[in-house]
Symmetry: C2
Subunit: 247 residues, 2 copies
Amino acid sequence: MIDIDPWSNALADYGRLFSQFGMQEIDSAITSKLRGKHRLFERNIVFAHRDFDKFVDAAKNGRKVAVMSGIKPSNEFHLGSKLTADELIYYQKEFGAKVFYAIADIEAYADNGISFEESRKVAVSNVADLLALGLDEKNACIYRQSKEMRVMNLAYIFSKKVTYNMLRAIYGERDISLYMSVLTQAGDILMPQLEFGIDYTVVPVGVDQDPHIRLTRDIAAKLGITLPAATYHRFMKSLSGTEKMSK
Amino acid sequence: MIDIDPWSNALADYGRLFSQFGMQEIDSAITSKLRGKHRLFERNIVFAHRDFDKFVDAAKNGRKVAVMSGIKPSNEFHLGSKLTADELIYYQKEFGAKVFYAIADIEAYADNGISFEESRKVAVSNVADLLALGLDEKNACIYRQSKEMRVMNLAYIFSKKVTYNMLRAIYGERDISLYMSVLTQAGDILMPQLEFGIDYTVVPVGVDQDPHIRLTRDIAAKLGITLPAATYHRFMKSLSGTEKMSK
């Protein structure tokens, strides 16, 4: 049923994402449209996407674009967190995209039992790192999920757009707190469009996070709004090379 | 498995609530402690309870007490809504209890597909009726679920305290939006204790709403906090006498 688990540290067969799940490779048709060269694309670190070509066209045509990502504040930044931060900052500069950065304290609670207050403390350090890396905070919206009413409202609204079968097909059998958490993440991703007048959103993530992208695109399709684009970076292996770098 | 359905208009066998589910009758040991006579108790309209005796003792001993109820803003007040309002107002006067009144717009959306904005309009009329009936707004907290961050946060927190088996045993098979809605109602009921320093809360409800009380008491037990008390009024039959009065 499922072999890509966003909450596990195990490596999986990502080839199936291309052959069976509709992910596309980043090719020269896309990279030739980028103004500047960047090691993320030069070195094929960002290697796959969904609808990124449409996002790039939207940005070039003057549409309002956003880049959305987040962090589960369970620990300090590591090289995997930095990779996402580099992408956010690059997309912000390259496309003038407004950055939405979610401190995923609801996921940290659902997945790891970390209280919102503990998350807040770690998040301060995470956000300091993000700013130190060069994010322009004047064109950014950084928030905690548990304090962003609009995101929680969207999670409730989306709960009527999904079925258990849909959730099980994407995530396997999970407890209700994790299902509520993924609906909240769909709220994070669609909030720029639904609440901030953004026309097109791209979500840079590790390839293991694709289940969240698929769920959110399914929900967007049901709502009849633009499906968010995504770009995928290769997962960062742990130092031992046997797991993904995780926290 | 379940024959008491808080969302149905069908009548059910409430005798089982006493014999199998631990509800107790209101008796003279309780009514003798009330300062004033009130038709709600004189006429046995409020006929059953859970831990109301403990709530009354807490109030008499100067503990901070609250009375919590709400309304699904799907229509104008009817005689059933007025009954709950009468109880709120009576408990506010009798015990000096702070009133918490939830506009259950999340339930209205989950159960009836009513948008938060539609709910807001109906709620204005509902709250006007509540105030006209004599609620002292200076000792009350009236809010919409979808705008009360603390209630939504509690729903997320409680989601890790329940299992599907627990929810199914109480409510039967329901979609995820209704399960999220009942966790939110548990948030409504426990917010006075967890966020406002209240020592004891009583929830006056129609007897058909007992599933929500049982769920919330189970969650309170898991959290190790005081279980909320409840009083139950006889359901108000519809004019035809074949269903409960509903909206």
